[in-house]
């Protein structure tokens, strides 16, 4: 039995739903999803949380650490309330992502990988997000924002809680 409970019932239920997608003896297939769900609840994945997820899934902790460190969407330290992922790959570069990056960095006063002092925003550079026809683009949380301009960024950021 787990001696400590680090996830809400809702999160545990969500993990169960993921487990239902795979054969009974292949619980590890839900590991990526379980880590995502845990991160959504806690903002980031602490060592303790990763170990807990491993226990929920029923795999050795090392498996969960391997996965948590391999994939780029897992945050292994705290991030802001809104994670701004700016694509700087070719199609976005050709359509001026440099200007978008500069604007965001100046506006927020932070560089890539940093979080604003009020804990509201984290800025991250990402690879192509498959929205190249709407370049330059960024993703905040679950949403894509395309055909960016400084004015558009102002409006988008202002609307975020």
């Amino acid at each position: 039995m787990l001696d400590k409970v680090l996830l809400s019932d809702a999160s545990l239920q969500e993990i169960d739903n993921e487990l239902d997608k795979y054969p009974k003896d292949r619980r590890q297939s839900a590991l990526l999803a379980a880590l995502r769900i845990a991160q959504e609840e806690h903002n980031w994945l602490s060592d303790e949380l990763i170990e807990y997820v491993a226990e929920v899934i029923g795999v050795p902790p090392v498996r969960a650490f391997e996965v948590a460190t391999f994939y780029s969407m897992y945050d292994l330290k705290p991030v802001g309330r809104h994670k701004i992922n700016v694509c700087t790959n070719i199609s976005c570069m050709l359509r001026g992502c440099d200007q978008i990056v500069n604007y965001l960095q100046n506006k927020l006063g932070i560089g890539f990988g940093e979080t604003t002092a009020d804990g509201k925003f984290t800025l991250k550079e990402v690879e192509c997000l498959a929205a190249c026809a709407g370049a330059p683009m960024m993703q905040i949380g679950r949403d894509y924002y395309e055909n960016l301009s400084p004015e558009k960024i102002d409006t988008i950021l202002q609307a975020l809680p």
Partner: protein, 456 residues
């Protein structure tokens, strides 16, 4: 749910719905346009799997994920009648820089993918399918979930489909950020909850795939093309219709993502064999009235083509190959005359360095070398010897790795140097000139512009 439709610039209603269709992602709209007719007929008439495979072979549909392997042939490799679980898997990882077609198929035409995968399950004797979507695809995931629910309620997914005795369950699986998971065996490992590291081949997935079971993996666009092909434009299984839309060796229509320095970036579902010049015209031409300098026609992994070569090429497998590149994922990246090719290659090399999974030494170390040398050249600290080293490193990666990411890192370097080597040399010489000048004349170093002019 509101879904923006503005990236579809041209549709043929095979994979991309045209903009006259209201909410094409709904079951109702899909059915009103011939959707699920193919599956219904197959389930009702118990069409022999071999007939469907023959029709697909005759359609000349080639895999749309990059390698262009014929879909019908791949499906025939599956041991259909062998006992035990088998799987069909859709590769919706879409991470190749410049590629944005699968996202539109998932968002706008999810039922075409569901129908294509279910037919795939029927043909290959698989009762379970997974659609592996990259972790960033939240919106497509939600659209897919809703479409799958509609399909289940209508009896197109789940147990005993339309009372045929055939089962097919489909599940969405989200990745978590890793380009390498688009490589099919890395994808399998990722689906098993492991790091996305490619496996040695052989064994191939058709014999040893997901959980060690026979598995077929196809790209989103490959699966989504199947229903329309079997409908045959009104004549059942008339897959010749699809073949004839294209040219020899390149059947049908295909979605090209046109991006970069172009007036109307977007997805264009056009006939294979369409001249590039025509596609460029459809896309409004090069933006800002500028001249075309170069095009990467199939995503960052395929060789770059100078304007003069691409302008005489057609958008099909043979023609692009004859002119020095490849269809790849159909991601056409347009670069105008102002483009700094060294900077572009630096960005591409940075990408492969970041995304190498690290299993093979030539790729893990080589991609780092490539990136660092190109960055050095771009920053003005390169030497002429660096240019030789670059090519040497690229040549030593190519063909010596577990998966094709190594080749994908090498090809851009080789082709950029081949066609735009003078730009790399110019950056090196600008600096050499600067040093020479500063040695002789104090002050010249303070003004790089002068030094460049002197040495030119």
């Amino acid at each position: 749910m509101e879904i923006e439709f503005n990236t579809v610039r041209k549709a043929y209603n095979v994979c991309l719905p045209d903009s006259s269709r209201d909410q094409p992602w709904t079951l109702k709209s899909y059915q009103a346009n011939g959707g699920y007719q193919a599956l219904e007929k197959i389930l009702r008439e118990k069409t022999p799997a071999s007939e469907i495979i023959e029709a697909l072979k005759a359609s000349n549909l080639r895999g749309r994920g990059g390698a262009g392997f014929p879909v019908g042939v791949k499906w025939s490799f599956m041991p259909r009648d062998a006992d035990g679980q088998k799987y069909v898997i859709c590769n919706s990882d879409e991470g190749e820089p410049g590629t944005c077609k699968d996202r539109d198929i998932l968002r706008l035409n999810p039922h075409a993918l569901i129908e294509g995968m279910t037919i795939g399950g029927y043909v290959m004797g698989a009762t379970v399918g997974y659609n592996y979507m990259r972790g960033e695809f939240w919106q497509p995931y939600e659209v897919m979930e809703r479409a799958m629910k509609e399909a289940r309620q209508a009896g197109y997914l789940g147990h005993n489909l339309l009372d045929s005795g055939f089962d097919f369950n489909l599940y969405s699986h989200l990745g978590a950020g890793a380009y390498i998971c688009g490589e099919e065996t890395a994808l399998l490992n990722s689906l098993e909850g492991l790091k996305g590291e490619p496996r040695f081949k052989p064994p191939f997935p058709a014999t040893f795939g997901l959980y060690g079971k026979p598995t077929t993996i196809n790209n989103t666009e490959s699966f989504a093309s199947v229903p329309a092909i079997l409908r045959g434009n009104g004549k059942w299984m008339n897959s010749q219709w699809f073949k004839d839309l294209g040219v020899e060796n390149s059947g049908g229509v295909k979605v090209f993502s046109v991006t970069g320095h172009v007036k109307l970036p977007g997805n264009y579902e056009i006939k294979m064999g369409t001249p590039f010049s025509e596609l460029l015209k459809m896309a409004g031409g090069v933006w800002k009235g500028r001249k075309l300098k170069a095009v990467i026609p199939g995503g960052s992994s395929v060789p770059v083509m100078p304007a003069i070569n691409i302008m005489k090429a057609n958008m099909d497998y043979d023609s692009l190959q004859q002119n020095g590149s490849a269809v790849g994922a159909g991601s056409v990246i347009i670069m105008d005359e102002t483009t700094d090719m060294v900077k572009v290659l630096e960005r591409i090399s940075c990408f492969y360095f970041e995304e190498s999974c690290g299993q093979c030494t030539p790729c893990r170390e080589g991609t780092g070398w490539l990136y660092r040398i190109i960055r050095r050249i771009n920053n003005g600290h390169g030497t002429m010897a660096d240019l030789d080293t670059l090519l040497d490193v690229a040549n030593r990666i190519e063909g010596r790795t577990i998966c094709a990411l190594g080749d994908a890192a090498a090809w851009p370097v080789q082709s950029f140097l081949k066609h735009f080597g003078h730009e790399f040399e110019a950056k090196v010489m600008a600096m050499d000139g600067l040093y020479a000048a500063s040695a002789g004349r104090a002050g010249a170093a303070a003004n790089p512009a002068n030094a460049t002019a002197d040495s030119a």
